[in-house]
């Protein structure tokens, strides 16, 4: 026939075009991304909030924090220095820091210039409201043997303002400076831990960098191990490296395992090498999926690849549809077999696509990508199976093994015998009890952390570092906006008051706010005005022998100090820890962030921000988890919608009763697998739900196969068995993934498929039709 010659050629032209497109897409390197944030819904945020978020995340994705620990401090310092120098030379890092180089003159200069502007709120209050006590305290500190070293000598600051500023700087954690080397050292667990910080050139989403950093760290660990030095490391880069390695490993496992299993199955069942050609649609499917994904989204996420590799098992079902007819069609010819199964094949493509595309309507870019990848992949596989493969298998002389058919027949007989003892309604009742009990036990769990495989080793180290250094950054922060610096700093001070209460109550370790560094302009003026009352109270200072002229000169000098802006305060060395918090001018004024340390209860923060004007809590993780919970509802709705769509699709070929029955079975299978999750003690996550959404679509296939009964019940069951086995192979392998979300997805799909297979024969019962072939 003409079409038998034309179709393969047309398809080859299409294939060449797609390959060319793929070549063009990949010419600049792999368009693959590992950025987790690309997978989660971008909530409707303003650009300022996005900028703030990026600023807060940047250090997590670029910085490597290492503690070098040894019982002997010198050993630890030496190792930290050695590693620091090696890493600096490696070219991977922009900056490596193992000690502090203090610029004392610059520090002194800033303290002297900032004597009015940088005075903390309580000190300001004391100076303004109670100048008598202010002077008394100064006298006391001049005699205090433990007052500590003041950077500015007394003769330059008789009032002791710089000492107060030094003393009010917030301190986090338990890190001290080693006075000999300048290294930052913490003591814990009987060891000295030297802090080593490195900032990478790129970030964690650069595909090469994380692996390079992980390799450097592995080398460093070996080196340290030889010197009996322990290393603890934490960085988003390490998580990224781990994620990439895991993804690569899993893609090879899932892809390789499924491929090997399917090829073996094909060989065992059909006993001809040429049948391996049936794998071509799978390869074509993967190609189409990848090309469509890159074309639509610009790049592909590694998670799409991992989940997408499960498509292998679904795509191979199309050739299996007509290959399995070789048990009944003797002799088997490829084109006639295809023609016989084409309606079913097309229906199953449509239902699968409906199932996958339903995923695309969730607010998760991750699932949209997977849906696009899979739908395009299935279409590719279908086209290949329909247009090209029959031509390749034209003269194939398939001699399928007898045992699979016998097995299928045996299974059918088993079912018959079961039905004779227990009728279908009774079975349904048992199933309902099973489902009810399981659903009762089912727990719902949603957490963005399921999306990332967190290897316990990395997590433990990060926790140890947080414990040893006391440095525990939280993902939440406050975004503060004001019309001008005055309003901004006032709002920060109001927020600071509330946060101080949390710190005092032990709910929060500490926080960083620009208002700790510099006072609002009006407050600076108030302090300056309050200076004029000091001569009335400074008798105790004069009594110590401090010349009146010196004090007068100091007052004059203080009165002439310029007002400090946020930017001028940030410029000096003391401003360094705060620099990241300043967002600068926005359309409506100025904005800044307030970062938090060691938070124990996120709920309180939200309430706190509600009462303050211009203050907003940014809690991306919390927001995401809420989105997860909301999405569960929409997932259920989508499922319903896709079922209705499939019923409509099946209405014409199978009638209302048939269509409803064929959709009810997969739904029942989905409930059974939900119940199984409950019985197994596995949580229901958004991913298991999505998995079940998919199961509905795939298992309608089985119902179609069983319903159509081309070649008899046993042959249809065998076709279903083969299709289920191959699909199960690829999804089942996902269950071994180290990423909880992926493994959860794999588990729920595997369970769903098993139940779908078990329930599929009921698609045909009801009214027994004569075999159509």
């Amino acid at each position: 026939m003409r079409s038998e010659r034309l179709l393969p050629r047309l398809f080859l032209v299409l294939l060449v075009a797609v390959i060319a497109l793929a070549g063009w897409q990949w010419h600049d390197g792999a368009p693959v991304s590992a950025n987790l944030m690309e997978l989660v819904p971008g909530s409707a945020q303003d650009p300022l909030e996005q900028r703030a978020e990026q600023r807060m995340q940047e250090p997590l994705n670029r910085e490597l924090l290492v503690l070098v620990g040894s019982e002997d401090r010198q050993t630890a310092v030496t190792m930290a220095r050695t590693l620091g120098e090696q890493w600096q030379a490696s070219g991977v890092f922009e900056k490596v820091q193992w000690n502090l180089q203090a610029d004392l003159p610059a520090l002194r200069h800033q303290l002297l210039q900032g004597r009015l502007a940088m005075l903390a709120l309580p000190d300001r209050k004391l100076l303004i409201d109670n100048p008598h006590d202010f002077i008394e305290q100064r006298v006391q500190s001049l005699f205090d043997p433990f007052a500590g070293f003041s950077l500015v000598p007394s003769r330059d600051d008789w009032l002791g303002l710089t000492g107060r500023i030094q003393g009010s700087q917030p301190r986090h954690g338990a890190v001290d400076m080693d006075l000999t080397s300048g290294a930052l050292v913490a003591n814990a667990d009987g060891r000295n831990w030297v802090l080593l910080r490195a900032r990478a050139h790129g970030d964690a989403f650069d595909m090469q960098l994380p692996l390079k950093v992980a390799d450097l760290l592995a080398d460093a660990r070996q080196q340290a191990g030889r010197a009996q030095v322990q290393l603890l490391a934490a960085s988003g880069l390490l998580y990224a490296a781990n994620g990439q390695r895991e993804a690569t490993r899993e893609i090879s496992w899932v892809g390789g395992g499924a491929t090997a299993g399917i090829l073996l199955l094909l060989l065992l069942a059909f006993r001809r090498w040429r049948v391996l050609l049936a794998f071509i649609p799978v390869l074509v499917g993967m190609l189409f999926g990848a090309v469509a994904c890159v074309a639509l989204f610009g790049k592909m996420h590694v998670m799409t690849l991992v989940l997408g590799s499960s498509l292998i098992g679904v795509a191979v079902d199309y050739p299996l549809h007509y290959l399995s007819k070789s048990w009944s069609l003797k002799p088997w010819h490829s084109w006639p077999a295809l023609r016989l199964t084409l309606p079913g094949l097309s229906l199953s493509l449509a239902t699968s696509c409906i199932g996958y595309l339903a995923l695309a309507f969730t607010p998760f870019p991750a699932l949209t990508q997977i849906a696009a990848f899979s739908a395009a992949g299935l279409i590719g596989a279908y086209l290949c199976a329909v247009c090209l493969l029959p031509a390749l298998l034209k003269d194939a002389d398939l001699r399928p093994a007898g045992w699979p058919l016998e097995l299928a027949q045996h299974l059918l007989n088993l079912r018959e015998r079961l039905l004779r003892h227990v009728p279908s309604p009774a079975l349904l009742l048992i199933l309902a009890v099973f489902c009810g009990g399981g659903l009762w036990h089912l727990q719902i769990k949603n957490d963005i952390r399921q999306w990332v495989g967190t290897p316990p080793g990395l997590l433990e180290q990060a926790q140890a570092i947080a414990r040893i250094t006391g440095y525990q950054p939280t993902s939440q922060f406050f975004l503060v906006q004001g019309a001008d610096e005055q309003q901004l700093l006032e709002r920060e001070e109001a927020l600071g008051k509330q946060l101080n209460a949390l710190v005092a109550g032990g709910k929060l370790h500490g926080y960083m706010a620009l208002s700790q560094l510099v006072s609002p302009p009006k407050a600076q003026i108030e302090v300056r005005d309050a200076l004029s009352q000091l001569p009335g109270h400074w008798q105790p200072l004069l009594a110590l022998g401090i010349p009146k002229d010196a004090l007068r000169a100091e007052l004059t000098q203080l009165g002439q100090l310029p007002l400090q802006t946020i930017e001028s305060a940030l410029l000096g060395p003391l401003g360094e820890p705060w620099r990241g918090l300043w967002l600068g001018p926005t359309g409506q004024g100025v904005a800044s962030m307030v970062s938090l340390q060691g938070l124990s209860d996120a709920g309180q923060l939200r309430a706190l921000a509600q009462d303050l004007q211009g203050v907003k809590l940014v809690d991306r993780l919390g927001d995401l988890n809420r989105v997860f919970a909301q999405t569960q509802v929409s997932a259920a709705e989508l499922k319903l919608a896709s079922c209705i769509l499939i019923v409509l699709l099946l209405l014409k070929p199978f009638g209302l009763g048939g269509a409803v029955r064929m959709v009810a079975l997969p739904l029942l299978a989905a409930f059974c697998s939900l119940a199984s999750l409950g019985w197994l003690g596995q949580p229901l996550t958004l991913f298991s739900l999505f998995g079940l959404l998919l199961v509905t679509a795939i298992s309608v296939d089985y119902a179609i196969l069983m319903r159509e009964r081309i070649g008899g019940a046993a042959v249809s069951l065998l076709g279903t068995l083969l299709a289920a086995a191959t699909t199960w192979l690829s999804f089942g392998l996902l269950a071994v993934s180290s990423t909880p979300a992926v493994s959860n997805f794999g588990l729920s799909v595997s369970l769903g498929l098993a139940f779908s297979f078990l329930l599929a024969p009921w698609a045909a019962s009801g009214r027994e039709e004569a075999p159509r072939a």
Partner: protein, 207 residues
Amino acid sequence: MQWLQHGWRACHASLWLAISLLFASTAHAFDLKDLSRQLSEPAVIRGPFIQEKHLRALPQPLVSQGTFVLAKEYGLLWLLKTPLQQDYRIDSQGIARRDATGWQMLPGKSAGAQQNHLFFAVLQGDSAELERDFELNLQGDGHAWTLQLTPRSLLLKQVFTRIDISGGAYVQRIQLAESQGDSTVLRMPDSTSSASLNDSERADLAQ
């Protein structure tokens, strides 16, 4: 920068500790090890002190007086009497100051790791710890000796020029010269040792 300042504060406090804890009778042989070993021997040392702060801009030093009690096992009590009254306590918890309601830990001076480290190092007579940050130069004999501490690191040199400690049977004089030109002299003319704390000292130190 916070760490830097914290470090200095810890250092300063530790130094005073180290120096205070050097009050000890010294006997026969005279090298650092022997000195160190003897430092830990008396359980309690007490006596009066006179502190003179020489500020470059003042013609007269700021003079204060009081008494101290050093208990090997518990810590140091520093009781300033004139020209103002103020009590300090240094122990493994950190530095505390007494106000109307009782002992108050000084913020930022709580048990800094390094501070504790030095504290216990000195308590145990471990001059090796001091030697890491300072060059130690010991001269004289057990009846009249001088210990000179010179900072090793550039960082410390920016803070102290040197520290001189001298004594006979007990430490008698400590002079701390700051790089900015100010200096502090601490004199302990009449220290005595005893086997135990009295009740009020015990209440303050060993609670």
